[in-house]
Amino acid sequence: MNAVKIFVPRDSAALAAGADEVVSRLQQEIAQRGLSVEIVRNSSRGMFWLEPLLEVQTPQGRVAYGPVQAEDVASLLDAGVLQGGAHALHLGLTEQIPFLAKQERLTFARMGITDPLSLSDYEAHNGWAGLRAALQLDGAAIVQTVTDSGLRGRGGAAFPAGIKWRTVLHAQAAQKYVVCNADEGDSGTYSDRMTMEGDPFMLIEGMAIAGIAVGATQGYIYIRSEYPHAIDAMRQAIVLATQAGFLGDNICDSGKRFALEVRKAAGAYVCGEETAMLESIEGKRGIVRAKPPLPALEGLFGLPTVINNVITLASVPIILSKGAACYRDYGVGRSHGTLPFQLAGNIKHGGLVEKAFGLSLRELLFDFGGGSRSGRPIKAVQVGGPLGAYVPESQWDIPLDYEAYAAVGAVVGHGGIVVHDDSANMAQLARYAMEFCALESCGKCTPCRIGSTRGVEVIDRITHNQNKEQQVVLLRDLCNTMLAGSLCAMGGMTPYPVLSALNHYPEDFGLDVRETEKA
């Protein structure tokens, strides 16, 4: 009899929910019952309310059970889980779970399906096809494909990736670099973590393509220290890919060279800003650099450098393998392709939703997310991380599109979506945004370094009813200075959550609507 395959994810979120305990109980029970079972530690499907999600391979497809705890294992086996039998935790065929079935997974096509560190799994699921296609092209043609795809920086800034690559391609230097920004410090985001833990070869492939395109032979992945599992998976994957000839001195016998190294960050949020990250990799304090010079021309160690976030680079293989037009056809306006939206915070069905741009926040919150986890009304939704605006219900029908969001003073950013119910105090959250900026500011520019501390004080005066009207004017003025006068997004975008909270939820600041309008 062939061994039945059971899948239990190794993603951090599954581990945090008890996946290892489930696996060790499974192993005990399997041994005791003398069953023939192969346990695969796959990546996560990204349905985190169901983790640990246990899947069983059946002739009809994979059948899911979840959320499974160690104490459920015996009853699952009693119920015939190996044949996909009925059980209280039975969810049916995984692919038919509506949360998954409604998605458009391009970048996350393998997520939850493969063993992250299995080269044969990767190869069997369209792995390395993009790299092989790229090796047939010259650098300019690869850059053109990326440009034509409409891919924009998925880290939040949404700068066209192809334009950045072209600058590096045309720069003359003996050495160029590709740096992957994996310092995913924003609350509400975990798509980078999932990618590195769950499909590390995809990121390696994307970076190798970038290197070949622009003529860079060395790459670095700067991963935050809070992600030990991602660091571990990436390091192992680099060794495996190098041994198999997908990295190193002679990639797929093409004579092309690209080597990759993981650099571990050290807990400074601002190092997610690209120039601070470069300083950090160089072994310095992560202080933001003034631009120009652009990192594309004078980047790491002063040399031309492609810097992209994890999802940007991870989107490159499919663009090369399926063609620019295929990717470009997803999305709306100038927002082409898909974005892995990340539902987080107080949401019933938290998880990763990869969809083409253009759907609305309301669809994400209710059709996918199922409303708040607490069951209370959703009050505010922070889109795009701690530096993104709080989006009120009146704006939940705007299509998720970079330009449409910018038009209302919000940002799509990296697609992190943090949900707060009606127990949230928006003045406290605005204060927290300033407090966080004060804590994490690199200290180089005054609006950010000083403005954030003054911001906390001014918000405190407003909420303590001290000279309120004047303080609101002061807060707006301060935010304006930070917006216009900061070197990077840390100080320059902290006003987004603050002002959106003030504008849309004045009552939480003890103000009535007319007072804020007057100000």
């Binding site: 951090s12 979120a13 581990l15 945090a16 929910a17 985190f48 309310w49 983790e51 995913e184 410090g185 924003d186 609350s187 509400g188 985001t189 975990y190 973590r193 220290s225 809070e226 992600y227 030990p228 650099r263 571990k264 960050a265 050290a266 807990g267 400074a268 949020y269 950090s280 990799i281 160089e282 072994g283 310095k284 304090r285 992560g286 160690f301 990340q342 539902l343 987080a344 915070g345 107080n346 949401i347 938290g350 998880g351 990763l352 986890r373 607490s374 922070q382 701690p386 992190g416 943090v418 949900v419 707060h420 119910d421 949230a424 959250l429 927290y432 966080f436 994490e440």
Partner: protein, 137 residues
């Protein structure tokens, strides 16, 4: 190795649990940096410690997604239960309590980490149980 300072500091902290003040001179000399530069880097990054931590490190996420599900109350509870403030170690040296800004478990908030082990959807009861285990360990 280019840009060797952070990897070196990580290696020291991995070995010793912190970066002793006494190592600054040797690091500076080895990398041809000034002591001030090395000190500046060690103290700039939240991750690096200059004092040994307690036998266990408890990190509670304070970022927005965790706040939306009660993280602040958890941190308060941990401070009360342990009898020590954030960023401090209990008097018996058992536990260092730290706020952390995002463990990347934002869809399963609130999240925390005890030494190397992550925990999601932490309730007051779960936190209390975890802390009790540490005190007896």
């Amino acid at each position: 190795m280019k840009g060797a300072l952070l990897p070196l500091l990580h290696a020291i902290q991995d070995q010793l649990g912190f970066i002793p003040e006494s190592s600054v001179g040797d690091i500076a000399k080895g990398l041809n940096l000034s002591r001030a530069e090395v000190h500046g880097v060690i103290t700039y990054y939240h991750f690096f410690r200059t004092q040994p931590p307690g036998r266990h490190v408890v990190q509670i996420c304070r970022a927005e997604a965790c706040q939306a599900c009660g993280a602040d109350a958890l941190l308060d509870l941990a401070e009360k239960t342990l009898g020590c403030a954030s960023h401090h170690t209990t008097a018996n040296g058992a536990v260092t309590l730290e706020p952390v800004y995002c463990l990347g478990l934002c869809a399963s908030s609130p999240a925390m980490q005890v030494d190397d082990k992550l925990h999601a959807r932490v309730t007051a009861q779960k936190l209390t149980t975890l802390l009790k285990q540490l005190e007896s360990a």
